[in-house]
């Protein structure tokens, strides 16, 4: 969660000058915090979701859909309105923050959920409440209706005439068509955000060009999709980094009972992170084209890539210290529990000296290495007022840790709190309805409890996880993708070589079934059911809700229900205005967004997620 702080930004030159200062102080702060929190144990299991909403505006008379770039204005309104009326807060309340892209806004429950009584099923009601809160403060202008939408990717984000900048929210639709929008206007105007998105480009020394392969339909002319000089053949190019990350995510955080259990959960989330991508896929259209990718994940990593030519291995190392194989936003760099040491088979550099220092402070080897890896990165921004820190502050540590975005984030507890060690699962796309979002969140929470309870193990060599990630984002990976997965999910560390994994499809992984090698895999949902059945105090109504959630995931994995991405593709395919050329016109966008909005906000039933069997 990013809470914007006001302050004066240092120039990129000064930020570089003070990079070592920030790193050194950050290390000191981390060591201090580590000693304070290393033995922290939290008996109560807590969890929560982070759901990103997109702000849109619909002009029904002109048949146009726009993306609104004014999330910044919504936050104080929604917080004020929620605090004014306690009925509006429910049992758990809500918390709202801006995101870097100016059209996204993130909501979380006001306090974490636990595992008692009804909180597994309370998340959906809380999501509904949050949606109500945000919709209640959205105003409409000039016949346009503003709304929030839990949709991962706006089809024409990046195209001309598809967005309304903050200063133009009061302009009539006719004035928006030929508007030239500056990159600045795509970014929520907190100083930090601008730096975080611009400075990777400055550091790298080359302009960003995010290539996304275009889906080839009957009439698609792949040679005509982009005129950008950095375009690969048949690819559309997102020209600015913010377009790469301007896609909405659904994230889940769970708290371990202590450092050891949190590391265990982190390590299990790592191999699961590619698996949940095809099941939650919801971003098949980018910048006006149907693409070869179903998930949002593919464009994140290039958008935040700050590596120089030297670090990428394109030039000999002179000014920098390391060759770095991955962007600072990407797949997990390694496992954290010592038992998984052998599985960290991909090279990733770390600062040896720092590593030694962490080990001397009593951290175990893998955790020390994980932290030493984070500190090879430069800070992406520095606020002048925060440069020199008091003994008890921790901005520099948070700066470095908060700009290492892996698909699973291991969260160090804040020192002055009773919050414990946590793992955050970050690869899922947001779904249209609260029911779906609740289903995915609860699925992950139940899965993490099942893993701990039944002592399960899904780890595999990290290089295999990376291979799975590459397949996971592809079009129709939910049906066609083959993923490495562990055949026997029960923890048995004597057998962790390659023979314990084999390729399976998503259906087998989620629902169980025969693997290509002949053996049966039990399936994640049967395992979860085994856990739920062993909990004797889930009442009938709750159990039936949990069954509905699990059924959605099961149906999508089995192909009985379309994923959001498949549903969007089919909608486009059947749209009378679609010329089967992969191009998403304003007209199609309007109809799609209108339908999404009706479904998302409950005025139309989400028929596409119903399954008769």
């Amino acid at each position: 969660m990013v809470v914007p702080q006001e302050g004066t930004l240092l120039s990129w030159e000064d930020t570089q000058k003070y990079a070592d200062h920030v790193r050194k102080q950050g290390v000191k702060q981390f060591i201090r915090i580590y000693h304070k929190v290393k033995d922290r144990s939290c008996e109560t299991f807590k969890w929560g979701d982070e759901t990103e909403h997109m702000l849109i505006s619909l002009d029904h008379s002109e048949r146009k859909a726009f993306l609104l770039l004014n999330s910044m204005d919504g936050i104080p309104l929604v917080q004020k309105s929620a605090s004014k009326d306690p009925r509006f807060c429910g049992e758990y309340g809500s918390f709202w923050v801006t995101e870097l892209p100016a059209h996204l806004i993130e909501s979380t429950p006001g306090k974490p959920f636990e595992l008692d009584g009804t909180s597994l099923t309370a998340v959906e009601a809380n999501m509904k409440l949050r949606r109500k809160q945000i919709n209640s403060v959205l105003r409409s202008h000039h016949g346009r209706l503003d709304a929030c939408l839990t949709l991962s990717s706006f089809p024409r984000n990046g195209c001309k005439g598809a967005r309304i900048p903050r200063k133009h929210v009061n302009s009539p639709t006719s004035a928006l068509q030929d508007l030239i929008i500056a990159t600045e206007e795509l970014i929520c105007p907190f100083p930090r955000y601008g730096a975080v998105i611009r400075n990777p480009e400055k550091r790298r020394g080359t302009e960003v060009a995010i290539n996304v392969p275009v889906f080839k339909d009957e009439n698609t002319d792949l040679s005509q999709v982009s005129e950008h000089e950095a375009a690969k053949p048949g690819h559309v190019v997102l020209e600015v980094a913010v377009l790469g990350i301007g896609v909405a995510a659904l994230q889940v955080t769970v708290q371990g009972s202590d450092l050891k259990e949190a590391k265990y959960i982190h390590d299990q989330f790592v191999p699961l992170s590619p698996i949940m991508m095809p099941v939650s896929a919801a971003a098949p259209i980018r910048q006006g084209f149907l693409t070869e990718w179903d998930c949002r994940w593919g464009t994140l990593s290039p958008a935040a890539d700050c590596r120089t030519q030297e670090e990428m291995g394109l030039k000999p190392l002179e000014n920098q210290h390391f060759r770095i194989p991955k962007s600072r936003m990407g797949t997990a760099n390694g496992y954290l529990s010592s038992v998984n040491a052998k599985l960290n088979d991909s090279y990733f550099p770390f600062d040896e000296e720092l590593y030694q220092q962490f080990v001397n402070e009593g951290m175990d080897i893998l955790f020390a290495r994980h932290m030493a890896r984070q500190f090879i990165r430069d800070p992406l921004y520095i606020l002048r007022e925060r440069l020199h820190q008091n003994e008890d502050e921790s901005d520099h540590f948070e700066n470095i840790a908060g700009t290492n975005w892996q698909c699973v984030r291991f969260k160090v507890p804040p020192e002055n709190s009773d919050i414990g060690w946590r793992a955050e699962f970050r690869t899922m796309d947001t779904q249209l309805t609260d029911f779906e979002n609740a289903a995915y969140v609860v699925f992950m929470v139940l899965l993490s409890k099942t893993i701990v309870n039944l002592k399960l193990d899904f780890t595999m060599p990290i290089s295999r996880v990376d291979e799975n990630m590459e397949i996971a984002k592809l079009r129709n990976a939910v049906r066609e993708g083959e993923f490495y997965f562990r055949k026997d999910p029960y923890l048995n560390k004597e057998r962790s070589d390659e023979t314990v994994i084999c390729k399976m499809n998503i259906n087998t992984i989620i629902n169980g079934g025969a693997t290509p090698e002949g053996a049966d895999f039990i399936g994640l949902i049967p395992l979860i059911n085994r856990y739920i059945d062993s909990m004797k105090d889930i009442d009938k109504e709750q159990r039936s809700t949990l069954n509905d959630y699990l059924k959605l995931i099961s149906d999508r994995a089995a192909g009985r229900v379309k994923t959001t991405a498949q549903w969007i593709r089919d909608f486009v395919d059947q749209h009378p205005g679609y010329k089967h050329d992969s191009v998403i016109s304003e007209d199609i966008t309007y109809d799609l967004i209108k339908l999404c909005s009706d479904i998302s906000n409950g005025t139309k039933e989400a028929l596409h997620i119903k399954c008769s069997t």
Binding site: E43, D116, K536, I538, D539, K540, R543
Partner: protein, 272 residues
């Protein structure tokens, strides 16, 4: 000629100990195994391991046998207190003799090394005492015993299983300690009957679900097990008198630290 190995035995108790890490339960593959199969697997595992070291000459003359897996780990670890733990026991009674249920519950208390059960769920067989047909009086007889245990502080909360609205209402109106839970079968009761739903809401009776068969351990299944573990001749005449399943859950973490079965079977040697 084959001779029976336990010719004198008319009572047999098997205590599984903690089954959480039983390999046989992990091996279950695709289709969710019924609790009957789970129970049979556990009992087989216990017998297999205990019979390896048994002195058959001694067993020959015993009238009651007991096979127990000694428990290696306590239900409570050092960090937790008893309050953190929720102990639930489901007593599935085929024998409606009040003394039998007292004995059964005491065994579980001893096994878990605790003096109180948080939730006790009572389920009475369709055919109590083998020959009779279920009647509310069977249930009430056992319920009275449990009420006394509540008075003594040995049980906190009482629940029943598979009662439809008229029976639940009858028990509710009659009982001194009211049922707080009605645990209904999730297969036979996909949709909660409206009258049961309304009544339980009004009386604040929680409706929970279970996946246990009406007879969790039918006589034929137990005899089959005896046949495999002892001999054809030793298998005759046995029927279940009770099955108790217990779980210990760390409340706030949803983690089950202990789960086990205690089973008693009996036979009348004169009838064989």
């Amino acid at each position: 000629m084959e001779v029976p190995r336990i010719p004198q035995a008319s009572s047999l108790i098997i205590n599984s100990g903690n089954v959480i890490n039983f390999e046989c339960l992990k091996k279950r593959k695709r289709i969710a195994q019924s609790t009957t199969e789970e129970l049979k697997d556990c009992l087989k595992t216990v017998l297999d391991s205990r019979l390896k070291t048994i002195n058959w000459d001694e067993e020959k003359f015993k009238t009651s046998l007991e096979f127990t897996v000694p428990c290696c780990n306590p239900a409570l670890s050092d960090e937790q207190t008893r309050e953190d733990l929720k102990v639930t026991v489901k007593a599935m009674m085929c024998n409606a003799d009040p003394e039998v249920i007292v004995d059964a519950i005491h065994r579980v208390l001893k096994e878990l090394d605790t003096d109180i059960i948080d939730v006790l769920l009572l389920s009475v067989s369709e055919k109590p005492n083998v020959i009779e047909t279920f009647h509310m009086d069977h249930l009430k007889t056992l319920w009275s015993v449990l009420e006394r245990m509540v008075d003594k502080g040995q049980i906190k909360t009482l629940g029943v299983c598979d009662l439809e609205k008229p029976a639940l209402e009858e028990l509710y109106n009659w009982a001194k300690v009211k049922p707080s839970i009605d645990q209904v079968n999730e297969i036979s009761c996909c949709i909660i009957p409206p009258d049961l739903n309304a009544f339980s809401k009004e009386k604040k009776i929680q409706l929970l679900t279970h996946g246990d068969a009406l007879e969790i351990l039918p006589a034929e299944d137990f005899q089959e097990l005896m046949k495999e573990s002892f001999s054809d001749l030793d298998a005759q005449g046995w029927h279940t008198s009770w099955v108790l399943r217990y779980t210990a859950l760390i409340r706030c973490r949803g983690v089950i630290t202990r789960k086990g079965y205690t089973v008693r079977a009996q036979r009348n040697l004169n009838n064989i």
